[in-house]
Each structure stands twice: as C-alpha cells, then as structure tokens.
Symmetry: C2
C-alpha cells in the first residue's frame, strides 16, 4: 500500500425529506447565492423546497449554469457575487452546477488578474468562499470532494481545479430527487460513477486489499441497482444505494494508497470539448479501447475485477481479463450507451490526431498510472474507439 | 436505507515513516501534553521519533495511562493540563490512551462541578481541547472517531462518551509500529476490529447494499491478513491492510444508514469491569452466544455473511447462518482466544445475574438493534457464554 493522506470534512445529510434541513446548516447572517442549472428544479419541486427552507435567510439566485459549466456564464455569476456582497454559495444541481460553484468559491476570493489563471496555471485553492450543495443528480461525486472541471467554449478546453478549500461545507442528498431525472441522465450517472471507480482501480496490484474490495463493492452495488433504477426510479432502495455509491465512488476514499489512472477522463474530456458529447458517454467510448490497448499492464487487475465483480471464474488470467472488458462494454451498451465515436459524429476522421496534438501542445506527455502513455498512445487509443 | 448524517473531519496521515510529519500538524505556538501508556513506546523507538518531531514545540509528558483508561489516573493528567497551561493534547498509544485523551479533551474545557458527570450524565462534547494521535496499536478505531470508553475502578463501571468535539484533528498511522506489538495484543486488535464490524452489520437486512459490502470487505480483509500478521508482523502489506481495516471498522462510515447492535460490547464491558478480561476477549466470549440466542432475528444477515465472507454456499438459510457462527468462533479460537468465560475465571457463577442486575439498575432495559433485549435476555446470553 502506498503512503497517503486523507481528510474529507464535508458533512453529508442523506435521506428522505432532508432538504428541509438546509436552514440549520447556513449561518443565520449569511447572504446566500443560490446557483442552479437549466431550471428543471422549478418543475420537480426541489426549487420550492429550497425556497421554503431559506425563507428566513437573505438570498439571491443565479440560474442557467449549463452542463459542462462554462467559464463565460460563471463570470456573470461572479459579478453577482461581488455586486450583491454574497458570503455563502449554495449549489442546487448536479456535478456541473456544483463544479461551477467550486470555481466561484475560489474565484470570489481570488486576488490575481484573471480567474482563468486558477485553471490555466493549476492554482490550488487553500481557502474558498464557503458553500453547500443540494444534489439533484447523482453521478460525479462533486458533492463530497474538492475538485472541479470547468469548460471554456471559446478555447474548446476542459480544465480541472481543486484544493482543500473546495470541499462543500455540507451536501444534502435526498434520493427522492432521482424520480424526476430523465432516463438519459440516469444512465449517464451510473456510467460516470462506474468509470470513476475503474479509474482508481484498474491499474496494477498494489497490495491495497481493502481499497480494492471497497472499489469492487461500489461497482457491484451499481451493477445490482442499475436495472431497477432504469425500470423504476421511484424505487427508494435502489435510488438510495445508487446515490450513495456515486458519492463514495469519488470522495477520495478508494484512491488512497493506490495508483490511479484517469487517462480515460483525460481523453474523454477532449471528446466533450470537441463534439459536446455527454461526459459519461465519452468515458464509455474511451474505456474499452484504453483497457485493450494497455492490456498487458492492467491484466492482473482486469482478471481480479472479472472474478469478483463479474463472477468470471473460468479460464486463464488473459481470458478473464478480456471477458471483463467485454462485460464492461456490454453493460454500457445494455443501458443504451454507444461505445464507438462514429455513433456520435460523422466528423470523427482525424480526431485521434487532434487530441494527441493537443496533449503535446499542453505538455501532457505522460498519462496513466505509470505516466507512460505518450501522445502517440493516445492517438492509438482514440483510433481504436472510432 | 435509513436516513443518516455523516461527517468525519479527522486528517489521516498513513504510511511508512510518517511520525516525522507530526510537527507540521501542530500549531507552532502550542503547549503540548504528550500522553502515553505503560512505556512500551520508550522501548520500540516511537517515543524517540515523537520527541525528535517535537524538538521545536513546547511540550510536557504524562505517561502511565492503563489499558481500560482509568478515571483516577486521568484526573491526575487533568491537573497537569491546568497547571502547565496546556493547549493541545497528543495521544501516543492505542485505544486506551486515545480514549483517555478524548476524556481529557472534554474535561479540560468542562465547566461543571465534576468531570465524572460527563460520563454519568452522557454529556455530549461539542467542543474539546484540540488533540492529535500517533497510533501504536490498531484495534479500536478511536484514532478516527469521536467516541471513548472510560473505566472507573472504584465503581467497577465502564461508561461511554462522545460528541463532534472529540474527533482527533489528525492521526498518524505508521503500519511499521505493528512490528513491536506482542502477539496477544495483535490477536486482540484483529478480534476487536472484526467484532466492531459485526456490531454494525449483524442485524437485519435494511437495503443498505453498499454499507453491507463495505462491512464484508473489512471482514474479508481482516481474515485474509490475520494469519500473515500473526506469523510475521514485519510483513508491511499485511500490516498496512490490518491497520487501515481497523480504522475503517469504526470511523462511522459503515454504521450510516443501517441498524446497529452493540449488545456484545455492552455485555463485554461488564466482563472487563468485573474480571479485568481484555476487552477484545470479552467480545469473543459474548458474540457467539449472542448470535445463537438471537438467531431468528439475525439469521438472514448471518446467512449473507456466511455466503460472502466465509464462502458457505450450500444449505438452507438456517444451515448457513449456524455455520457462520461456528466459523466466527473457530476464527477466534484459532488465534488463541478462548470463547467461554469459564476459561478465564473459576469465579463465574452468578455473573449472568450480576450483569443483568446492573443493567436493570442503570435503566439499560433494551439492548440490540430492536432495543428489545431485556435484562433476562442478557442473563441467558451470559449464561450461554459460561
């Protein structure tokens, strides 16, 4: 097991009808900015629950944060924060709204020339404006971690940021919100969380027995509840396990003491930036090719995953490992996710070269758990995913 | 899944040679009281590592905190805290030293007449004197939770305390400390951690699929590493998984959203108070009888545990459930732990009645996950454990 440090101070408030607890978590003298997305919270009743809970707390609103939170939109929200003397941010939404709120938490206290530098120069946020979240879409785990990914439409870039100042003070997780999520988003959420676990698990054996079993537990649980959720999103037992699995998939716990990969995300982000493909779907496009291309380096963990998560007990290590990649791809397919780029765009020719070139230009010269994947490897992997 | 709240702000610093990081975690202007036990840290080098790390930080020491931290000894430490104007506590030890330090953290800021009232009246500690830990004995999980159990030799009582103010600010976990732990303590640690998981798992199915799998993961890992650790405690892979499993067994995570039992601990504490039997061994004495006595209420989870942890796949639910109890008892026996009270004392006659009477007098009238076990049930269970 590798040495590690772990600290996650976010308070989780989980369960039925918990949104009403919101006011207990906010300072009574706070001036709150509520941030949300396209307005679905006004149709499904979450907005009303939040407004009721905040009736005695001073607040204003900023809606319209898009999927893949866009820098130019967030800069408008930053203007509101300054003009309205906001002291506390409240994200009501999924990963995009929460990630956007994290950027604002950092930017609100940033003293440099341009907040874009936080992303461009990978500036770590030690202290941000305090914020909480009401999660409306389980998927990214952003509700209990200190990372965010922000998109710049102008430059077609997706860049990450983070730091200990960006943990939510609290996150309210009411699994009942799942009832009003469109099927497409549910499928994306399951795929996103599942792939998060793979990124922290599908590397090489590192004698981290407990972390391996925790990672497998999350994947087993997601596989177990996925069919129920997609058939009946009012099933509270399935919804609550789905929601908690998404949070646990990326709250830092399973990555501690183990090597991590994240090459699937690095390549996937480029597909979203270039073609606007849903984040989760880009992961499902890249993952199978990535594991095939890096088969020798990953086959021991692929075989362990085959045995423990897919109950594949017959055959050699290679047999099991291949079968596990196939099982993973067909799991995505069965949920209705296409795993080839050509199913999303006719304009895919040259994509592999473009992405490889971008990595070279940005100086991203070593991806994966060994930091050994070069732009030419990226080119191969993306090609395999056509 | 039940509703829950979860917040655990303790910073974990885990791995080889991490004790040297101690000074980074303490405020530079702190006046530190180092608390430790019987002095084994002076033989195994841990004391020297701590002293080296604290060379530039003002500190005094208080040694001699016994196993099952004793109120009268802690009151002497409290006097030192006041006389020396201590601002920060540092526990260097196992669960007893850490639990004692938690009591002192609370008592140092307590404004009532007698600190014993914190225990007697179950007063929740919202704010305590800040403290950190250097863990020398993996077992209790006290290094990453906010609970403590204190013993009063005079009244032969063991009472619990807790509250959000009692999380360590940081805990340093260097698995190399395991090398110098006597076999008896290692066996106790494995048994203690394993039983902690059972208390939070062996109840009834509550549709908490992920929590169940996490609990099973910890037990599987403990079973996997136990033989290696007992054979060769210098095996770092086994030691690190053992240490991290003990912490995860009782840091709050696996108990969230599920019913918990803790009757084994409630009865076990009485055996320690009456006979001075090692805490872990009292759990191994009580657990098998407890599960047999409450078989009908627990058999579904017992059967799930049989399948997933012990790979018992044949037979009816009852068959599997019984087999799991047997496997658990023989796991304790194989490590050299006797699971009958009569192996520890000749003076056991009447113990069941005494313990039942104590529960009645204290008003502890409903133990277990259904709060349905009455003193007469306790009497039966302890009798079965003779």
């Amino acid at each position: 097991m590798n040495n590690f440090e772990f600290k996650n101070p976010t308070k989780i408030i989980f369960g039925k009808d918990t949104i009403s607890k919101l006011s207990e978590e906010l300072p009574t003298d706070a001036r709150v900015l509520i941030l949300y997305g396209g307005g679905s919270i006004k149709k499904n009743g979450i907005y009303d629950q939040v407004k009721t809970a905040l009736k005695d707390i001073s607040h204003v609103e900023f809606g319209g944060i898009p999927a893949n939170p866009e820098y130019s939109v967030l800069m408008k929200a930053l203007k509101v924060i300054k003009e309205e003397s906001i002291t506390y941010l409240l994200a009501v939404g999924g990963g995009s709204v929460i990630d956007g709120t994290k950027f604002l938490s950092s930017a609100a206290l940033y003293e440099g020339d341009s907040p874009w530098d936080i992303l461009k120069d990978s500036k770590r946020t030690e202290v941000g404006m305090p914020f909480g979240t009401v999660l409306t879409l389980p998927a990214t785990g952003s509700e209990m971690n200190s990372g965010a990914v922000i998109t710049n439409a102008e430059t077609k870039e997706k860049l990450g940021m983070g730091g200990p100042g960006l943990f939510p003070q609290f996150s309210i997780l009411d699994p009942q919100v799942i009832q009003s999520i469109p099927q497409r988003q549910l499928v994306n959420g399951i795929t996103d969380a599942f792939t998060h676990v793979l990124e922290q698990y599908m590397t090489y054996p590192a004698a981290a027995l407990l972390q391996d079993r925790f990672a497998e537990s999350i994947m087993q649980t997601l596989l177990e509840v996925a069919p129920t959720i997609l058939k009946d999103s009012t099933d509270y037992n399935a919804a609550s396990n789905f929601m908690w699995s998404c949070t646990m998939a990326l709250n830092g716990l399973i990555q501690k003491g183990v090597p991590t990969d994240w090459a699937v995300h690095a390549m996937g982000h480029e597909l979203t930036a270039l073609y606007g493909i849903d984040h989760a779907r880009t992961l499902a496009i890249i993952a199978p090719s990535h594991y095939q291309y890096n088969f020798e380096a990953k086959k021991e963990k692929l075989a362990q995953y085959a045995e423990r998560v897919w109950n594949i007990t017959e055959g050699s290590i290679d047999d099991k490992a291949y079968a596990a990649i196939e099982k993973t791809e067909s799991f995505f397919n069965q949920m209705g996710i296409e795993t080839k780029l050509s199913k999303y765009t006719d304009d895919f020719d040259g994509t592999a070269e473009i992405i490889a070139k971008r990595f070279t230009e940005r100086g991203w010269l070593g991806l994966g758990e060994h930091k050994s994947l070069k732009p030419e490897d990226v080119e191969h992997i993306v090609h395999m995913a056509y």
